[in-house]
């Protein structure tokens, strides 16, 4: 889809498609006397059996693809969902500590009892060989800076402690952070194997030890802004494609078919051209030493010192994405406009309406379904966009998807990446349901 594959063919197939859906077989066979087949089975039952066989046959044909999609696509999505809520690290690497901490009241302000420290020593000793205990530090460091080094240091030093205890003072002597109530609170908070923590983090929220959910301090807030910006820029891009797409669709729908078919090629060519090719060409056009700036300098509109910054910012994202998504707006608009009889306008004009008035009062309202279809389609595609913002977006033009990618491959906070992805997916699904209500999901097909 984002790889640029939508076709007006789909729009044309729409009506035909609806026909098959509605032409369900007439199974209601009523009769007072049971009619039987030649071998004496009531016809009703024979038919039902035949129907069932027929259904099984249909399902058998669909099942290979269904299984394939389930394995290669649905399970990955399910896996992501799972990663957004699973949090096995603390409980699997510190099982004894977690068990002992159950007794401890995290709100008391007191340090945990000796048995907790003893359990910690046992856990760390066991995990020291595989070094996996450091993962606990890595995980908790997302929540509290300093946990990373605490666990790395402890992994090296705790196994050297003398057997037999008492451990509390000995452990605290290794690192003062073990004497912080906060350290233990964090361990206890993140000891359940399932967590909503990543989702809170994805919404700039945090859970206090007392169990309240509160907004992060201002300097740590990222995602609410980003979601908002993604929606805002997508909305703006949608508006731009509508403004540019509407006249084109109108022209295509009103010109004779022969001419409009030729012009339609001009819409389909960019559509079929690789997304990266189009992004590349916008880089060539928009950069400071690029074609547009050179041209503006050449005609003396701007001087060489003050070349425009049109790339590595929101402008770059908006311009390039408007271009890339424009066909997704034109094609649905065109398919709707084509069905509006020309006689409507003529009738309005002949009844005395000014052509402009006739357009806004008669023609435009008829195009609303097309605007809805194109608008939601462009908006949906746009909020999940990754490549173009990554290449031309800079600081102010990045989307939420860029942060999902960042957490997968740079920061390695996969749980947070999954949570952000699920929220984005939820947003897209809501929009699709809206789309289905407005235009019917069959209508968009190759979007």
């Amino acid at each position: 889809m984002q790889g640029a594959v939508l076709r007006h063919l789909a729009f044309e197939s729409r009506k035909l498609f609806h026909q098959t859906q509605t032409s369900m077989p007439d199974t209601a066979i009523d009769s007072a006397q049971p009619i039987t087949t030649a071998d004496g089975i009531p016809l009703k039952r024979a038919l039902a059996r035949a129907l069932r066989r027929d259904k099984m046959k249909s399902l058998a044909l669909v099942s290979p693809l269904f299984i394939f999609i389930a394995l290669t696509f649905l399970m990955p999505i399910g896996d992501m969902l799972w990663r957004g809520i699973e949090d096995p690290i603390v409980s699997s690497f510190l099982p004894r500590t977690v068990a002992e901490l159950k007794e401890w009241d995290e709100l008391s302000g007191e340090l945990p009892q000796e048995s907790v420290y003893a359990a910690l020593v046992a856990d760390v000793k066991e995990g020291a060989d595989t070094k996996l205990i450091t993962r606990v530090g890595k995980r908790l460091n997302y929540e509290l800076p300093g946990m990373n080094s605490l666990f790395r240091k402890s992994q090296r030093r705790i196994p050297r402690l003398e057997e037999g205890g008492p451990y509390k003072d000995a452990v605290i002597k290794l690192d003062k952070k073990w004497a912080n109530v906060e350290t233990w609170q964090i361990i206890k908070t993140f000891s359940p194997t399932l967590t909503a923590g990543y989702f809170w983090a994805a919404l700039d929220l945090q859970v206090t030890p007392a169990g309240d959910v509160e907004l992060l301090p201002d300097k740590n807030r990222i995602y609410l802004n980003l979601f908002w910006r993604t929606l805002l820029l997508s909305g703006f891009i949608t508006l731009m494609t509508l403004i540019l797409g509407y006249p084109i669709a109108y022209l295509l729908a009103t010109l004779p078919l022969k001419t409009s078919n030729v012009l339609l090629m001009l819409v389909l060519l960019p559509f079929w051209t690789s997304l990266l090719v189009r992004t590349t060409s916008w880089i060539a056009l928009l950069q400071r030493q690029g074609v547009i700036n050179d041209f503006l300098v050449w005609i003396n509109l701007i001087d060489d010192e003050n070349r425009l910054s049109m790339i590595h910012n929101a402008t770059g994202t908006v311009v390039a994405m408007t271009h890339i998504l424009l066909p997704f707006m034109i094609l649905p608009l065109y398919s709707v406009m084509k069905t509006i009889p020309k006689s409507y306008m003529r009738a309005a004009v002949s009844l005395g309406a000014h052509p402009f008035r006739a357009f806004f009062k008669v023609y435009a309202p008829n195009t609303v379904p097309g605007i809805g279809a194109g608008g939601i389609l462009v908006f949906i595609i746009s909020i999940g966009y990754y490549i173009t913002p990554a290449l031309v977006g800079g600081r102010s033009g990045t989307f939420i998807s860029n942060f999902i990618a960042y957490h997968v491959s740079v920061s390695l906070n996969w749980g947070l990446a999954a949570a952000l992805g699920i929220i984005l997916l939820g947003l897209v699904l809501v929009l699709y349901i809206l789309y289905d209500r407005i235009v019917g999901i069959d209508n968009m097909k190759l979007g």
């Binding site: 044909l61 790395r152 300097k219 740590n220 800079g394 600081r395 491959s409």
Partner: protein, 367 residues
Amino acid sequence: MKKSIIKQTLITASAVCFAAGTFAVAQAQELVVVSWGGAYSKSQQLAYHEPFMAENPGITIINDDSASEGVAKLRAQAEVGNVTWSLLDAIAADAITLCDEGLIEEFDFNTVFSPAPDGTPATEDFGDLIVSPCHIPNIVYSTTWGYRTDLVKTAPTQIADAFDLAKIPGKRSLEQKPINNLEWALLADGVAADDIYDVLDTPEGVARAFAVLDTIKEETVWWTRGAQPPQLLADGEVVMASGYNGRLFSAIEEEGQPIAMMWDWQVFDIDGWVLPVGAPHREETLALLRFATDTQRLADQAKYISYGPARMSSAPLVGKHAVLGIDMAPHMPTDPNNAKTTLLFNFEWWADNQDDLNEQFNSWLAQ
């Protein structure tokens, strides 16, 4: 009739899977060496891989340029126990993390690696550059500054100039992460190098660093890959950029771009090899490692790129550029003229604070 279609489909599908499978297996006789791409991979190819392959005709080395996502991808491979990389090039901080997680092998340097030609054991030859038993130092590189000689009115001479829009007007480029940038911001603000991490340990200190970055925020293009700063400079997108000294050297000397270096408070870092636990062809890879980290090879790499070799014994062997014939020593970050003020960032401090500061940095960027 439909059954036959299904059968046909299944046969085709399994044939396809089989074909695809054999395709993957067909490459199994090769060592996949993961590095940073561009001029850097090329210098390794010329200095290490090609001579090694010439000596060992049975081995082919495949260059994979995904070191910038090395930690993530290695973790993904390790999660299923299917490590496909034989060798990974990693910076010291990443190596420490990977070593802590047990994803890469530890070495006894003196038994695995060859001593210096005069017999000095490897541990002494590498000296302080050994920061982790898992990391075999390869080069010392620095993150420093390049500027367009034709686009700035006065040449920048000190780190404060990078943050001075009055002296150096125009766009600049910084790496899109807090490491280095916060240190430079504080240095530009007058904090002494020794006090940087004490200052950063307080929220006020972090705020102070961000306040300095604020002054150039609107004029900054952020880079994420090492090849970007020279490109941004060459395209005239920015007048000044932080970047890796070797990449800047290539742009200046090999491509003849109108760029010059500003070395004030360059940040040293160490790059080297790590061997993933469970890597395929371990024996061959060890042979390559031993070969590629000896005194002569390390000096050879410096013929192609201006990074300082990690062994002390290699330094005297550093000669002239292989193609240009210019003396390489003055272009090394370690050259006394360039290394008047240098910073070594605090691995330990960043390991603890990077999650929090990345968050603050991203939040700051998004505002």
